[in-house]
Structure formats: C-alpha cells, structure tokens
C-alpha cells in the first residue's frame, strides 16, 4: 500500500524559508499519491531556477534539465513511453521567457502531460530580476528601476497556443492546488497550471499579505475561485466551433482580471485528440504498444535496398 511518504526523497532542500515552492512540491506529491500512481510510472521534468530542483525532492523518475528546456525533453520521454505520467515544472522565466517557444509548441501538440509553472514574477535564483510575468511599472526590491515592459498573460497565451486544460492556482492554497493538479494530470492532453507563488526573498510586492488583501480597504483576499461566480470553462461539444471560440474568449477575458480581484481555477478545458492519438493515425502500432516496448531490433530492411535496385 503506497503512502504519501513514498513520494518523498531524503534529498536536502535548500529553498528559502517560506518559499511558495514548498506548497507546490507538497501539492504535487499529494496529487500523485491521491491519484494512486506508482512512483516508477511517473516522470517529473524541470528546467533551471529554484523550481528546477523539484524533481530531486519527489521519489519518481526525475529529470532536472536545462534552462527553459524541460518541455522538449519531457515530450521526447513521453513519446518514447506513453505509459508514463509526465509532469513538467518550471519557473515563469524558465517557461515564459527562455523556454517560450517550447511552451507554445508543447501546447499546440496537445501532448498528454501537465506543466506546472511557478509564477512569482521574479528570477529568484539569480537574485530577483523581473520575470516575464511582472507587470509594467512594478519594481521589486532588487530591481534598480520599475519594469518598462509589460508582463505576458500565461493563461491567454496558453489558450491561444492550444493547451486543452488551462488553470491557475495559488501555492499557499495547497488544497486547491492539489485538486487542480489532479484534474490536470487526469486530463487527456496538454495541461497548463500557472501557480501564483510568493517569493519572500525577492518579491516584496506580491506577498502573502498582498494576496490576502491586507492592503485593500475591504481587507478581503484578492484571490477568488472562478466557479464562485458561476464560471464554467469546460467545452461541452468540441465539434461546436462556436462554443469553442466562445469559451476561449471567455477564458481570455477573465484571465486579464488582475488587481483587487484575481481569479483562480480552471479557465478552459476541452477534449481534443492528443498528439499520441494523432501519431496512431500514422502508425497504428503506437496505439497497442508503447514505443519503448516495441520490437524494433529485428527489422528487415532488405525491401528498402531492393526498392533502390
């Protein structure tokens, strides 16, 4: 019988005290455990940054890759062995900055995997420079001057590039995050979970108190759950292009709400054929046997030579 501790390792963790990474790590471990996945059937991929160390703390197969490159490596591994549950993690700089091209195209393929992005608006590991999600005009404590370029909107970008499950959660609300992660992992297709996260060391703007709304006259939390206002981002009929477009636009509109109120939850979800299923249409054996288990070592290439005579 698997226990939660079976997903933990004994590797020393050197994240700063109070870092949002801990909440994300716990939520990942809990989600995998609650989904009753066996550790050896899961592979976690990360890029470079504070979040990059995540795989070392999870007792599954773990690939700590290059800055911005977790997705191509994860894609290769998943295509080689589609029986694996593949989760990629990375920071906002990693995924939306240096790895932006991979971010778009992984979504476009609709590979069956989950991408968890630690979104704290700063490059923590290199001491707090602005990340691609820091809004224009904001200045965190190690920046010499406020940002002069606008931040990108990961939710809207993910929807436009083809992710079929797009959600946002919060690192300090582990229960919500865990449930979103479970839904993302269960979703058949490319899933983005953008996780708002505090960086107690370098982001002195978007702090735990800020998210709690301590600075607001109402003192009420900035974060609210989409479903609380009756929002439903799930496409009921993927063949109905009108509904698909409507749901996408609705999700994008809601993703721009940022300020006194910030929505979390599932912005958009649709069932579409995965990349793996599309490969099956070209290569029928891909459906029946995961690639790594196919017998490819005894191929007869004589017909290929004969064809050239």
């Amino acid at each position: 019988m698997l226990e939660l501790k079976d997903f933990r390792t004994k590797v020393h963790n050197d994240w700063c005290p109070g870092c949002g990474d801990f909440g994300i790590l716990n939520a990942i471990q809990m989600a995998l455990f609650e989904l009753k996945l066996e550790p050896h059937n899961v592979a976690i991929f990360s890029g470079i940054g504070c979040s990059g160390k995540t795989p070392h703390f999870v007792n599954t197969y773990g690939f700590h890759t290059l800055h911005g490159r977790a997705l191509p490596i994860a894609t290769g591994a998943k295509l080689a062995n589609r029986d694996l549950t593949v989760v990629a993690v990375g920071g906002d700089g990693d995924g939306y900055g240096i790895g932006a091209g991979h971010f778009l195209h992984a979504g476009r393929r609709n590979l069956d995997f989950t991408y968890v992005v630690h979104d704290n608006q700063v490059y923590g590991l290199t001491k707090g420079q602005s990340s691609p999600t820091l809004p224009k005009g904001e200045r965190t404590k190690s920046m010499p001057a406020p940002a002069i370029v606008e931040g990108i909107n990961p939710i809207a970008t993910a929807i436009s590039s083809g992710y079929t499950f797009v959600a946002r959660s919060y690192a300090l609300d582990v229960r919500h995050l865990k449930e979103i992660l479970k839904a993302a992992i269960l979703h058949k297709g490319s899933a983005l979970v953008d996780v708002l996260q505090t960086c107690p060391t370098y982001n002195d703007i978007n702090t735990k108190e800020w998210y709690a709304g301590a600075d607001l006259p109402s003192k009420s939390p900035r974060l609210y759950k989409l479903e609380e206002k009756g929002y439903d981002g799930v496409v009921k009929d993927p063949n109905n292009s009108g509904e698909v477009t409507e749901k996408k636009i609705q999700a994008i509109v809601n993703s721009f709400e940022w300020g006194d109120k910030i929505p979390i939850g599932v912005f958009y979800k649709i069932e579409e054929p995965t990349f793996e299923e599309m490969i099956e249409t070209r290569m029928p054996t891909y459906k029946t046997t995961t690639l790594v288990k196919q017998d490819v070592l005894n191929r007869n290439v004589d017909p290929l030579f004969q064809y050239l005579t």
Binding site: V11, E38, P39, H40, N41, A43, F45, I48, K53, P55, H56, N59, T60, Y61, G62, F63, H64, T65, L66, R69, L71, P72, I73, A74, T75, G76, A77, K78, L79, A80, N81, D83, L84, G101, H102, L104, H105, I279, R282, M283, P284, T285, Y286, L291, V292, Q294, V296, L297, R299, V301, P303, L304, F305, Q306, L308, T309
Partner: protein
C-alpha cells in the same frame, strides 16, 4: 570539349561549322521543334504545341541517347518513372518525343560517334542510393524508433525518407519547433529507452550545442546526430557542401564532456557508421555525431546491396526489474571500473533515478563535493578511452595504397572518392601515393594516425575548408604537421582532377597551400 566530342543542338540556330571553330568536334543539328511537332501529330496532340513545347528537352534527351547508342528501352523506362499516376499519359507523350528524337539522329547521321554507352552485364543487382537513404536504412536496421528534425537543407530529406516508411518500420518522426527542441526531444527519448536520432546541418547544429552538453553530462544513451555539413558560416552557401564543421563538432557546448564523432567517406560508410553509432551511444552512454556533408547526403551512387546479416545490435548495460531490489535506491551514476554505469529506463519498478545537468553523485543528486566532482569528471571522460579500445582499428582509419610512397594524402569524409580516383592519375605521373582517411574524429585514433604518418615522406592534407581542420586535429593529437595542403572552400565538391592538379602543384612547385576553385 574533348576532340572527337559531339554537340547536339537546335538546327534552327543554323550554326555554321566555322562559327564553332572546332574542326575536331562533330556537330549534330536536330530540328527540335519539327521533331516535336511530328511526335505530337502522331499522338493526336498537334493543336497543343504551346502546352507541350517544353518537351523539346525530351527530344534532345532522345537524340543524345541515340548518339551514344544507349538502349532506348532504358530511356523509356526512366521517363515513365518520372510520370506516374495521373501523369502517366504525359509520360507516354514524352517517350514518344524522345523516340522521335532518337530516330531522327539514327536516320540522319552516320553511326560514327566514338563514344558509346552500353549497359554492363551484372551478376548482382545493384542499387542507386543517396547518403540520406543509406543513413535512413541504417537507422531502421539499428532499431531507431524516434527521429526529430527541424526543416533544413540538406538534412530534411533523410527525415522525410524515414517518415515515408513510418508505417512499415514503426518510427515516430517529430518535426520540432527548432533544433534546440530537436536534440533535446531525442535525448529525452533516449533516456526513456528508445534509440533516438536527429539530423541537421550547420545552422541547426549551432543551436544544438547546449543540448549536446546536457546529453553528454547526463550520460544519455544518445542521441545520434547526423550532421550534413554545408557551406558556412551563418547561412553561407546553403545548398552547397563543405567540411567546415569538424572542429565545431568536437568542441560544441561549454565545458568538457565525452562525445563520439564519426566521419563516413562514402555512401555505404554512411550506412555502417550510422548503424555503429547507435551501438556505441548505448554502450558508452554519450551522444554520437555522424559528420557527413551535403555532397554525401545528395549524391546518387551505384553500389552493390551489402550483406548485412552480421550486423549485431548492442544496447549496452540495461538493468531490468528482476535485477533490482525494493527499498534499495538505484545508483544511475554508479562509479564502475570502466566508467559506464548500468542504466534503467523510466517505468522500471525499483529503478527510479534522478538526473541533472548539475554535477551530481551516484544517485543523480546535486552535489558540489570536490572529491565527487573529480571522480565524476574522470568517470565520464574515461568512457572515451573505453570506446577507443572497443572500436576496431579497421574502422578508425582507412589506409589505401602502398605502405611506402613519395606522398601520403591525408583526408576525411566525402573527399575519399576523388582522392582515390586521383591516386591513379598521380601514379601515372610518377608520383607514388598512399592515402590515410581518418574516420573516427572522437575518440581520435592517435596511435594509428601516428603510425601511418611517422613513416611518411611527405604529407599532403586534402580538405574542403579554409583552415585545414583535420591537419590541426592531427597536430593536436600527434604533434605531426602536414607538409602541404590542398584546400577548397567554394562550396563545390572536390573533383578527381582537382586533387590531381592540386597535389601535383603542391609537390612539383613546392607550394605550401593550394586552393582549388573549380565551380
């Protein structure tokens, strides 16, 4: 044009023999348009001349075949092969045009042309094959089931070849968003247990440098990178050939990590080197680069079908579930006497490992420990020595010609054919040559190259690049310097004549360096 040669031309030009100024050359005026009109009439298409006027080309083709007495059935067959399916009727029309051109020459000129081309009786069936096909077939034979690529000349042909046979051979071919993704996707697949490859040319390989380092550092069993060099730098002459990337291949990526690099010299060496690359990648857990070029990629060669029944696949040291114990963490990077750590693949129970581009311990966990760093570096780099011992000498270099000679030609890669052909010409000029073709660039066959070159009287380097990169590599490893260089870097392949002229120029005129320029 050689004396006794012939010119077939449009009779409408009304060329006078004195205009040509070559009484030693035969002239064959053929009224292309009239012949074509005749063919169209006979086929009931006489009112469609403007549509079919381009077929005067085919008339000329038929006329040429007649002049050299080439079997017309073969001409017809070749034409029809180019027009299949809905275009088959057009093929027939072209055959008719060629036939009429052929007949015109037969009817109107004496059969006194000195050059004839007859088919040879062959015992064995032979094939016409390009480098990209040889590589593709080798990948299938080696069990490669994952190929990535980003479109680039001239490498894409190979990926398309693989994709065309996807159903029959069960290979996943992915067109990626860039070459960074191409190499890393293949590396991820290799770590996950399949044989994986990517193909590119120089601009793409430049983007792969980062990924190559990660593959080498994490001891991935691959990927195989086929590099079809083209003329650089930057976009260079994008559809032409060069041997300008060798030193880059050997040094691409920051820091020091092991990689293998093999340079095939002809089409079938492309086949065998690609096949071997997969075995070595699995056995030594490192990326392997097959350094080919545009010339090898695209040139058609007639070769015999090889007997490949003795090719053996070796997947290296893989630990299976039955060898693993519960609650015993697996040491993916275990220190072993030879440097190679047995590996598991994701999905294997009790075989969980972590891997990282950071320096790591035997479990793949990050550590900055000094002693561990030294041992890990030594472990990784030692695998190259192990590979050097494992590769048969017969594959590391080729040596042609007599053991003792006036001149030793030194080269690598696609210049092999031109050099071999030129050796006879040089011999006829009383320049006795032998030829050392270096095939393994990494690990470098230092002892073998030293052996062959230390007894050589005069060493002439023949390469298609500006700096003489193989010469530099040889000097780096052996201390032996080349005496003279014959170089070419105008994007065109080196010809037999150029090797002959260049080497002769270098020797007879004592030139240190000769730059060839045939276009």
């Amino acid at each position: 044009m050689s004396p006794g040669g012939g010119i077939i031309y449009d009779a409408a030009l009304k060329l006078k023999p004195e205009d040509v100024g070559r009484p030693d050359v035969n002239l064959y005026p053929v009224p292309y348009l009239d012949v074509l009109i005749g063919a169209l009439k006979e086929s009931g298409h006489e009112h469609e001349l403007s549509k079919y006027q381009v077929m005067t080309n085919t008339v000329a083709f038929g006329a040429s075949a007649a002049l050299i007495d080439f079997d017309f059935d073969l001409v017809a067959e070749a034409i029809k092969e180019g027009f299949t399916g809905r275009k088959a009727a057009l093929g027939e029309l072209n055959v008719k045009a060629a036939q009429n051109g052929y007949d015109y020459v037969r009817k109107n000129f004496h059969d006194d042309f000195a050059y004839k081309l007859h088919s040879l009786p062959t015992k064995q069936k032979r094939m016409v094959i390009r480098g990209v096909q040889a590589v593709g077939i080798a990948k299938f034979r080696a069990g490669c089931s994952f190929q990535t690529y980003y479109p680039i000349t001239p490498a894409t042909d190979e990926s398309e070849y693989l994709e065309n046979h996807q159903k029959d051979y069960n290979i996943v071919v992915v067109q990626t968003e860039d070459e960074i993704s191409a190499i890393l996707m293949a590396t991820g697949a290799a770590h996950a247990g399949v044989r994986a490859a990517t193909s590119t040319s120089g601009p793409g390989f430049s983007l792969m440098a980062e990924g190559l380092g990660w593959a080498g550092h994490t001891e991935a069993p691959g990927p195989i990178i086929i590099l079809y060099q083209r003329t650089g730098p930057s976009t260079g002459l994008p559809t032409r050939t060069e041997q300008g990337d060798m030193q880059f291949v050997l040094h691409a990526g920051h820091g020091e990590f092991p990689r293998m690099a093999i340079a095939p010299g002809d089409t079938m060496e492309c086949f065998y080197d690609t096949f071997d690359a997969f075995n070595y990648a699995d056995r030594f857990q490192m990326p392997v680069i097959v350094v080919a070029d545009k010339f090898l990629a695209s040139t058609y060669r007639t070769v015999e079908i090889p007997n490949i029944s003795d090719l053996k696949i070796d997947r290296g040291q893989i630990v299976s579930e039955t060898d693993l114990k519960e609650n015993v963490p697996f040491k993916r990077y275990a220190f072993t006497p030879l440097g190679v750590s047995p590996r598991t693949t994701p999905g294997t129970r009790n075989g969980i490992f972590h891997t990282t581009g950071d320096e790591h311990d035997e479990f793949g966990s990050i550590t900055e420990n000094s002693e561990n760093r030294i041992k890990m570096m030594q472990k990784r780099m030692r695998k190259l020595e192990l590979a050097a011992e494992a590769i048969p000498n017969s594959k590391k270099v080729n040596f042609f010609g007599p053991p003792k000679a006036d001149v030793t030609l030194v080269g690598w890669g696609s210049t092999k054919g031109a050099i071999l052909d030129a050796m006879q010409d040089l011999e006829a000029d009383a320049i006795r040559c032998n030829f050392l073709q270096v095939r393994y660039l990494s690990p470098f066959p230092t002892a073998l190259v030293s052996k062959y070159l230390s007894s050589s009287k005069q060493k002439v380097l023949v390469e298609c690049n500006y700096t003489g990169q193989l010469g530099a590599l040889i000097r780096e490893h052996t201390g032996i310097a080349m005496d003279r260089k014959v170089l070419k870097f105008n994007g065109r392949p080196l010809s037999q004549n150029e090797v002959y002229e260049g080497v002769k120029d270098a020797i007879k005129n004592g030139m240190k360096e000769v730059v060839m320029a045939h276009a």
